[in-house]
């Protein structure tokens, strides 16, 4: 079934979202890339070309499986059929990681195809915890939960997002996916400090990082309103925030998300290389600091 695949584990390097536009380029040239991330919902058909390409790509690269449709943060029970289809994709491709969002997308029977925000209260905390328990039990694996990008503030929230996530991890044993662009977007939109957010984040549970481009707009009061558009390069202040994040988390698999106005392979691959540069620079700085302290570094 899984003939001659590389190991599932994601390296602490840059990776990119897998796009149909790049299937041929990847299979023909086998570019040096840390990993590919796929949206689970794009590979839920029974067969056909998407699976044909992904099977071939999976032989040479580890895959990170990213769900966008489970509605973990919603008030309704999870869609069991959908959860079962997520499991089918996970079983088929043996991904190194599975992640979903602290957000909701389904209510009553309607699927909204957007990552919608939730207030952070005791009630929503319990909802999210129950849903993550169900997902992890059903999939038989740990999941990572991603911090969302937010455009609004809920008056009724009683938790800071970082505390909310910390509590979820404590109660479910899930890991975290830290989306640094989302941190920048949400903090800017709410008038907070992205650096403070990263400094307060429970980094010991982070197993993957996301980076992406955002579109700058303003709200009706003239305050900045950044949109998590994934349609352009990662912004400079987000790269700076990423470097700060890596200093706290250590090297992590880092995904470049670019889902609209999809660029050429070269431009996308260059973004992933920039993540490698930041990770490498962190490793070198750590090594120098440890030399200065005279730490004994055992040779490999």
């Amino acid at each position: 079934m899984c003939a001659q695949r590389v190991n599932a584990k994601l390296p602490a390097r840059g990776g990119v979202g897998l796009k149909a536009d790049h299937y041929h380029r990847i299979l023909n040239d086998k570019p040096d890339m840390g990993f590919f991330e796929i949206h689970a919902e794009n590979y839920m058909g029974a067969g056909g070309p998407p699976h044909g390409y992904l099977e071939a790509i999976r032989r040479d690269y580890p895959i990170s499986l990213h769900g966008v449709g489970l509605s973990i943060g919603g008030a309704d029970p999870l869609n069991k059929d959908h959860l079962s289809r997520v499991k089918d994709v996970a079983d088929r491709y043996d991904p190194g990681l599975f992640s979903e969002h602290l957000a909701w997308s389904t209510h009553d029977t309607e699927y909204f195809n957007d990552l919608l925000p939730l207030p952070y209260t005791e009630v929503t905390l319990q909802q999210v915890v129950d849903h993550i328990d169900e997902v992890q039990t059903f999939l038989g694996r740990q999941m990572l939960l991603e911090n969302p990008s937010a455009y609004v503030i809920f008056k009724e929230s009683t938790y800071e997002e970082t505390e909310f996530l910390r509590e979820i991890v404590k109660r479910t044993g899930c890991g975290l996916l830290l989306d640094v662009n989302n941190v920048f977007v949400s903090a800017t939109n709410s008038g907070g400090s992205p650096e403070d957010y990263v400094d307060r984040f429970p980094v010991e549970h982070v197993q993957e990082i996301h980076l992406g481009g955002h579109a700058p707009e303003t709200d009706e009061l003239g305050y900045p309103l950044l949109i998590d558009a994934h349609d352009r390069k990662v912004a400079d202040p987000v790269w700076a925030l990423y470097a700060r994040t890596i200093d706290r988390t250590g090297p992590q698999p880092t995904l470049i998300e670019w889902d609209a106005n999809i660029p050429t392979w070269e431009i996308l691959a260059y973004e992933a290389e920039q993540a490698d540069v930041v990770i490498q620079s962190h490793i070198e700085t750590q090594a120098q600091a440890s030399d200065k302290r005279g730490d004994h570094v055992p040779s490999a």
């Binding site: 794009n42 070309p49 609004v152 503030i153 709410s190």
Partner: protein, 278 residues
Amino acid sequence: MSQAPDSTKEKIALKGFGVPLQDLQSNMQGFDMFSDGLMNPAVPVPDGVVGRDGHPSEKRYGVYRNNVMASLIDAMAANFPAVHDLVGRDYFRALAAEFVRKHPPEQPVLSEFGGKFSEFIGAFPPLADYPYLKDVAALEWAWLRVYHGPNATPVAPDVLSKIDPAKLGDAVFTPIPAHRLIYSRFPLSEIWKQNRSEDVEGITPEADQVILICRPDMDVTLTGLAQDVAAFADLLFFGKTLGEAAEAVSSSYKFFDLSQALGCLLSARVFASVDVKA
């Protein structure tokens, strides 16, 4: 879940949940309110959803309204590119918006969204003068189902040479799962060629077409079938033996040519197996 009587104001803790029922209800209302306006711009920004000054912000909530509608319309455009090109971008987006509001997706796999689009177009009064659009949408939907359908290996076109001619009448033909037949009064093959840049095999650009859509390997193929061949294929797909199907079709179409019909279907590679009934 039973509702707490209004007279009892006390909070009822649910077993194993630890959250007062009253809070659960108000939480559910919060999700209801946030959802209500996502596809309906006339619904005001929900209470308690605010911007930096603590007041409701149309622009901020509007980001979600826009994401929801724009992304679902984009999904429709991806699933129905020929309909999109035929009516033009602006018209398609308005049409898809109407469709999305009337038939929002009920699950998250968007390649499976739009199954009712053909029917919706057929019943959409402003498009009454464009009756072929309904069929184009049906063809695109069938194409999608075949594209994402299960893989199966078709039998070789010369499979019948391995069957004892005396038993051929008892042969049962099982189709590959990734196949559909689409019937139309309109020259869909021409429309398809012009809007999807793909040829339809073996067809004259005339009205009253039947198109066989199947995926014998990775590529979806379209084959035009004569009415009698289509009727024959339909009976075989239904599980009739070759003999039964040929007899039924011959009685309705006096020029039915069995060997030509079989040749056409076998070269379309739509059969996964041919077995002689014991």
